[in-house]
């Protein structure tokens, strides 16, 4: 699922490992989310949104369009 996780993470100067550590998931899981190979569970999506101070709807685009456009 298309998302803005990479953009939000980069804007805060975080590495994938640092974000993963903050959310208690592996660096590879963050990478898989960013590259749209893995869709996170609802709790993890909510936690991501809470971490970046946004909403799940703004972060993830279920219709495939780039979120935020």
């Amino acid at each position: 699922m298309r998302n803005t996780v990479r953009e939000l993470r980069s804007a805060r100067g975080l590495s994938q490992g640092q974000l993963g550590e903050a959310l208690h998931v592996s660096r590879q899981t963050i990478n898989a989310i960013e590259t749209e190979r893995y869709t996170p569970s609802l709790p993890l999506a909510l936690e991501l949104a809470r971490f970046f101070g946004t909403t799940v709807e703004e972060m993830f685009d279920v219709d495939g369009a780039k979120a935020g456009e």
């Binding site: 998931v25 898989a32 569970s41």
Partner: protein, 135 residues
């Protein structure tokens, strides 16, 4: 709904899994010794020790090895584990049914494949019923 989750890393898991593999290897050795095949038992124990050492020593940079030994499993890896387990079950079912049919064609009773297939089938049916009730 709480979104709090456990830390992904469990440093004790690699020791527990590796020790369990060695214990299984010792079990093979004991069983093979009782059956008079000490050499086979030693070989099986040796294989178990090698696997345990690989899991202990080579997991530093490999997510796959860390996943095998269970010390770094988040929700994504739990899903991977679930899919791998399901695929393994599917392969085992195909092999058991195939072996049962082969044994029947050779004029044999089909045991132990008949029992293995029955256990697998009943386990699946009961699991579906129980898991459905749990949501």
């Amino acid at each position: 709904m709480s979104t709090e989750r456990r830390p992904v890393s469990n440093p004790r898991a690699k020791w527990i899994v590796s020790a369990l593999i060695v214990v299984i290897g010792i079990g093979y050795l004991v069983a093979a010794s009782v059956g008079g095949k000490v050499q086979l038992g030693l070989e099986m124990l040796g294989i178990a020790i090698v696997i345990a050492l690989v899991l202990l020593l080579f997991g530093g940079r490999s997510e796959t090895i860390r996943g095998w030994r269970g010390d770094e499993r988040d929700e994504r890896f739990a899903l991977i584990d679930l899919r791998a387990t399901a695929f393994t079950g599917f392969v085992m079912a195909v092999v058991i049914i195939g072996a049962y049919i082969y044994e029947l064609a050779r004029g044999r009773s089909g045991e132990p494949y008949l029992w293995l297939g029955t256990i697998a089938g009943v386990t699946y049916i009961v699991s579906i019923a129980v898991l459905r009730l749990r949501g």
